[in-house]
Point group: C2
């Protein structure tokens, strides 16, 4: 049975890679920068993303978000508070987003169409995809993003990059969240940075608090720089 | 392809259920209470379990632990500080433990054999299984445990039970961890309790801090009560 599973899994990932490549071309042609945010449940992806959407909008950027969860539309409602167009993807038990889900949820998204016109993602500067909270399974699924972001909160333990190497090794940027809680959590900053660098040497790391705004300027500058080269 | 996947998945789960039933009979015959601890990465399973092992040993109980991670033996080393026999299971990319892994790792565990004798799990009162950090995939895999424990930290967000209903719905007990951080995290206790009860009405809930020891007495009393009826 194991051989059949491995073959099937390979087939699924191959099909996903093909769909993701198509999405990537489409995003690139439209000039939209797409990011895939991956972390454990509870890292604070939604709070961080809500702040990012709000801050980018305040700077005049056109942003939108897709958010994946097994159940509920809690996160879409939270993100919508930023004023950006947001769509919830409920996976109903599937532990990751895949390229097909992304493609389907781009269709019929009225908020991304000019009045009386069809969907046009070139109306966007940034599209953020908040993945299902899971440090493992999303690592294998390319969503057509240009930048994969691995998030880690100061409450989680500094050894997460070593224990979940596939995610950190496939990430383009790492974001440490909730640094306002570093002291009560006795967060060992040097160790966390060392562990991230051990798995992904030289990766850009942002140390942030969506609550206090710490580190957000560097993060936004990174996004704006990436947009210019997209 | 989806149909084949569903069939294969059904086959895998059926085989796992059979193996788990065999383990459960074996654990019951040996009079050992087996618990399966499941949570997100970073909830503090290892710290909570290390304290549990230490406290039970101080009360004269015979305890051991199996701990699952994709990579590293960090957690086994941390748990071993309790003085209990501990074995690491590295899943190398698999996002959950299964009954076959548990069975294999019971074999040849010298710490569970009396001097000069074969393995004898009846030497134990409690066997704890710390699952891979993942709120989704472990929910479907029975490990032969008698008690499944869902853990949730105050840093994670009160809506986790609603977003990951399968785990909470299949749990026998819920443990809220890191309550020493409730104030800096602005944890909404009433909402968390309400959400857990919405998914699993009447479930036993323990509010704990492995750091301060809060709530540990009630948890240990629950374990001792469960052992008497096993």
């Amino acid at each position: 049975m194991t051989t059949r599973i491995v073959e099937l899994r390979r087939g699924i990932l191959k099909k996903n890679d093909e769909l993701a490549a198509g999405l990537r071309s489409r995003f690139q042609a439209a000039g939209v920068l797409v990011l895939n945010l991956v972390s454990s449940p509870g890292t604070g992806k939604t709070t961080f993303l809500e702040r990012t959407l709000r801050d980018l909008r305040a700077r005049g950027a056109r942003v939108a978000a897709l958010v994946g969860d097994l159940e509920t539309d809690n996160d879409a409602r939270r993100l919508a508070a930023s004023g950006a167009p947001v769509r919830q993807i409920n996976t109903h038990g599937i532990c990751h987003l895949d390229a097909e889900m992304i493609g389907k949820h781009l269709e019929g998204w009225e908020a991304l169409a000019a009045p009386g016109k069809a969907l046009d993602i070139s109306l966007l500067d940034y599209l953020f995809i908040e993945n299902v909270g899971n440090l493992i399974c999303p690592s294998s699924y390319d969503l057509g993003e240009r930048i994969r972001v691995a998030l880690l909160s100061v409450t989680e333990g500094e050894d997460k990059p070593l224990k979940y190497p596939t995610l950190f090794n496939s990430a383009d940027a790492a974001v440490i969240t909730k640094i306002d809680l570093a002291a009560p959590c006795a967060f060992d900053r040097e160790l966390a940075l060392k562990n991230i660098n051990e798995i992904r040497p030289g990766i850009r790391i942002f140390e942030t608090s969506a609550k206090t705004g710490a580190g957000m300027d560097a993060w936004l500058a990174y996004l704006e720089g990436a947009l210019k080269t997209s």
